[in-house]
């Protein structure tokens, strides 16, 4: 299967294709409330003012370790003193009759946004709560003070320990305006630290037995991890029925059997499942919704179990050179905002996330996890004897949730239950072949979100049903996405994890100016046993797309040509030869070695020379590449050329990786024994035009 062009990705969507969590925490009805009145000192251009802020939300009376704690709708009320209204809204506000909305000068209602920094504390641990901004609308004015109110749904919290879970208020930033005016940003600091509320967390039975809280949490646990908290470990098979391979849902199960399992592979274990290996992955990219025609950034964090069952060769040395690894995935949402033109003309700002949900027909809502499959070569040092392609498939079901919508600057209250119907998220990654080289799955890859249908929305709006509006502006088919995943973080060992225990962002590159590129080097030499093939000039031609944030793998297909080549035999004979590259070769990015130096690799190098040792001899072939020696007989494989590219000088200092005289060589040339090791000369390619490559 050939890789799909990266031009697949074009435009973006307000729909963030991150698999998230079902928002229903399943906690008992609220029997206690969060309520706090806080005093803030706010700074405007005229000075400081004291502002009162009230926060209220229903809280569950108790919580369990590993189970998400979801507050009820959080109400925010900000009392702006009369002395502040002039600074913020620009005109002195006359006393407004009670019950009427004030009209500061322009005859229109003020509105704004409140951003409250809230931290969660439990024991000695503290982390950001990640509360969203609250859209504020003007309420009544009394005694000269203007009350502005808002409400929203705050992210649930999954406690990992027993004991008191406390919400602590920090700084407040108000962004206030009236229609047609510029926003006024008002920073505020609390007069003293304030606890908004607390919930007592108890142990579950499993954690009391010594289990790991993260492993006993529901699907919410994985996706609701706060940014400051390490990425959770989703449990292995058999621990929680919500985490498992789904072989019942037709769409999810399809990737388990398509493409078909190659012949000659055996299942391990024969029945049941292995624990597999847990990973956390951060992926970022862009998505498009056909109707909106705008690129929107998307960000996804995924937890997965890889290899809970595996199909591998019955004979790893002589058997089918394929391996199939199966596992399951659970993704976490990173709510993102997008600014788009709905219907092509309405400036709309919205935050949205995708929430991973069970399949529509799941009897008991289990499992919630999607399916994962990695299909690759078992031994890259043996030639493929079945398919050559290395691929990754992932499928899950999601609902798209919209919130914090504002149209033309006016908040549109879509409520906290505005979501689409369930739809299938189908992601695919092509990870290479012999000529492109192979990606190690845990090094990260580019994932295509294949045609995504955004279903109709429901539950949108508070006083009126806004669902048809969202459906009309977003829903439909032919939506795509392209994400780059960073190195897979191992949450159990910490390998490839950032300081917060999450996967690193992908190491993407930006290339300019792009275009058709020619790289030339002088003086290639392939020598063995006193004989050599030398060429005056080596030329590589390829086309680079000028792109931001592109993946490093498979940068360009390259054409190699060689001129001025001759065979010098140890007996003193010199014969001109035509040397050529056999098959496709690809240029691949490895990593940024420094600000100026980029590591590159030309993959798929197999050199072929047609030789006529004398007038009386038939033409024979002299070939060079890599070789696989075990098991015998020795087999030809492509080799590669590694290089360090200096973006300032435009030079690639390169050398051929291990090269051997190919066993497919038909010439009998002293010194060039088939399967013999070949010594190669270093090469310095000059790149024209010089390409600037930076990260990201």
């Amino acid at each position: 299967m050939q890789p799909t062009s990266r031009r697949l990705l074009s435009v973006a969507t307000t729909v963030v294709v991150s698999a998230g969590i079902c928002l229903q925490a399943g906690i008992p009805p609220a029997a206690a409330d969060m309520g706090a009145v806080l005093r803030y000192v706010c700074t405007t251009s005229a000075g400081t003012q004291e502002v009162g802020v009230r926060i209220a939300a229903a809280t569950p009376p108790a919580a369990m370790v590993g189970m998400p704690v979801q507050l009820g709708t959080t109400e925010v009320a900000v009392d702006l003193p009369s002395g502040m209204l002039d600074d913020v809204f620009g005109v002195a506000s006359a006393e407004t009759p009670a019950g009427e909305v004030p009209s500061p000068g322009l005859g229109v209602e003020p509105f704004g946004v409140a951003r409250l920094d809230v931290r969660i504390e439990q024991g000695e641990r503290s982390w950001r709560a990640g509360w969203p901004d609250f859209a504020l609308a003007a309420g009544a004015q009394r005694d000269g003070a203007l009350q502005m109110m808002g409400h929203g749904v705050t992210p649930p919290v999954t406690p990992r320990d027993k004991g008191a879970l406390r919400w602590m208020a920090g700084n407040l930033t108000l962004s206030l305006t009236t229609p047609g005016s510029e926003r006024t940003s008002v920073p505020c600091s609390p007069k003293k630290a304030g606890e908004l509320g607390r919930v007592e967390v108890q142990e579950t039975r499993s954690t009391a037995r010594g289990g790991t809280p993260g492993n006993t949490g529901g699907p919410q646990a994985a996706a609701e991890a706060q940014p400051d908290e390490p990425c959770p470990v989703i449990p292995p098979p058999g621990v929680d029925p919500r985490y498992a391979i789904n072989d019942k849902d037709q769409q999810l199960a399809e990737i388990l059997t398509s493409p078909p399992i190659p012949k000659g592979l055996v299942r391990n274990p024969e029945s049941g499942y292995l624990d597999g290996l847990p990973y956390c992955i951060t992926a970022t990219g862009f998505a498009n919704v056909k109707k909106l025609g705008t690129a929107v950034p998307i960000s996804v964090e995924t937890q997965l179990r890889r290899g809970v069952y595996v199909y591998r060769p019955s004979n790893g040395v002589m058997g089918t050179n394929r391996v199939e690894q199966f596992g399951y995935i659970q993704s976490s949402a990173r709510p993102l905002e997008a600014n788009v033109l709905a219907f092509g003309f309405m400036p709309t700002r919205a935050s949205s996330e995708a929430i991973q949900v069970p399949p529509p027909a799941a009897e008991d809502g289990k499992p919630v996890t999607g399916n994962l499959r990695i299909s690759a070569l078992f031994n890259e040092n043996l030639p493929p004897n079945d398919r050559d392609d290395s691929e990754l498939f992932a499928r899950s079901y999601i609902q798209l949730k919209a919130g914090d919508v504002s149209v033309n600057g006016v908040p549109l209250d879509v409520g906290d239950q505005c979501h689409s119907k369930t739809t299938l998220l189908d992601a695919y990654s092509y990870m290479g072949n012999q000529n492109m080289g192979y990606l190690i799955p845990s090094d990260g890859q580019t994932l295509q979100v294949r045609e995504l249908t955004v279903p109709s929305f429901s539950g949108c709006g508070v006083d009126e049903d806004l669902s048809p509006l969202l459906t009309a502006s977003i829903s439909g088919g032919a939506n795509y996405g392209l994400l780059d995943a960073g190195r897979w973080c191992s949450p159990t060992s910490g390998q490839n994890c950032d300081e917060n225990g999450h996967g690193f962002n992908p190491e993407t590159w930006t290339i300019s100016p792009g275009g058709d590129v020619t790289a030339t080097a002088h003086g290639l030499s392939l020598a063995s046993g006193g004989s050599s093939v030398t060429c005056d000039l080596v030329t590589s031609k390829f086309h680079l797309d000028a792109q931001h944030w592109r993946a490093r793998f498979a940068l360009a297909k390259t054409d190699f040509s060689f001129s001025g080549c001759r065979l010098s035999i140890v007996n003193g004979t010199t014969i001109p030869v035509d040397l050529s590259q056999d098959g496709d070769s690809w240029l691949r990015g490895i990593q940024m070695a420094s600000d100026d130096v980029v590591q590159l690799r030309f993959e798929g190098i197999t050199l072929d020379a047609s030789v006529k040792l004398s007038e009386d001899d038939d033409e024979c072939r002299l070939r060079f590449g890599y070789a696989s020696f075990f098991p015998p007989p020795t087999k030809e494989l492509p080799t590669s050329i590694n290089g360090n590219y200096n973006i300032r000088t435009g030079e690639i200092e390169a050398s051929v990786s291990r090269a051997y005289v190919s066993p497919k060589t038909t010439c009998s040339i002293p010194g060039f024994r088939p399967t013999g090791l070949v010594t190669t000369s270093p090469l310095v390619f000059k790149v024209d035009p010089i390409q600037r490559i930076t990260q990201p």
């Binding site: 290996l277 591998r312 790893g316 058997g319 040092n381 390998q495 690799r601």
Partner: protein, 216 residues
């Protein structure tokens, strides 16, 4: 339970035996002549391959080097005729330059229980080939999937590799032996490596300076 992993590394053993220069007595009671002897180094002429024959999992190292010493002179015993003090394995271009395992895993191979000792056993004067064994061989392996395993002889004792050195070509080929997987940790995928799995090697080294080994 186990996780995805890689497999046994017998590459170290391959390298070790590849480097070992042995003078082999023509008979059990024969003596050996090594010239010039002294400090020796070796580099592989083809990839070192180790295969877990139980699971079929391979580990391939493109580059291996070793250093040691060989005895010099005549009337030498075949036992301990040479020793290896350092052995290294890598595949430049892989992450960390580690060797290539199955399923995209890369593997760090570390020779342990050095120095290893080469013992000459027999000599074929017609072909100039000395056959012998490298003893004291053991290694540890660490995979990019966090699997850690050890390779030794049976029961955890140091292992043995067989090899043959060719005068003139100055090459040492390695094969066979009694190496097996002795320990694995919880990160190791049992479908790739397990305790008791047998390991076979394949490799060839060029020895520098070239040695001439005969018996007597």
């Amino acid at each position: 339970m186990r996780k995805l992993t890689r497999n046994a590394l017998t590459v170290t053993a391959v390298a070790a035996s590849a480097i070992a220069l042995t003078s082999v007595p023509a008979s059990a009671a024969g003596t050996w002549t090594v010239s010039p002897g002294g400090n020796i180094s070796g580099s592989n002429t083809r990839p070192l391959t180790a295969v877990d024959t139980t699971t079929g999992s391979p580990v391939v190292c493109d580059v291996s080097t070793a250093t040691g010493t060989a005895q010099s002179g005549s009337g030498l015993s075949g036992d301990g005729i040479a020793s290896l003090t350092d052995v290294q394995f890598s595949t430049p271009g892989n992450p960390n330059d580690w060797c290539t395992g199955p399923v995209g895993i890369v593997v760090q191979v570390t020779a342990t229980n050095l120095p290893w000792t080469f013992n000459a056993a027999s000599y074929d004067s017609a072909s100039g080939v000395t056959s012998g064994s490298l003893t004291g061989v053991s290694a540890t392996i660490h995979g990019s999937d966090e699997c850690d395993a050890s390779i030794t002889g049976p029961g955890g004792a140091p292992g043995t590799i067989e090899g043959s050195y060719t005068n003139g070509a100055n090459t040492l080929g390695v094969t066979g032996g009694n190496l097996e997987v002795t320990t694995v940790d919880a990160d190791c995928d049992p479908s790739l490596i397990g305790v008791g799995d047998q390991v076979v090697l394949d490799g060839e080294y060029t020895v520098t300076p070239g040695q001439t080994i005969t018996s007597p």
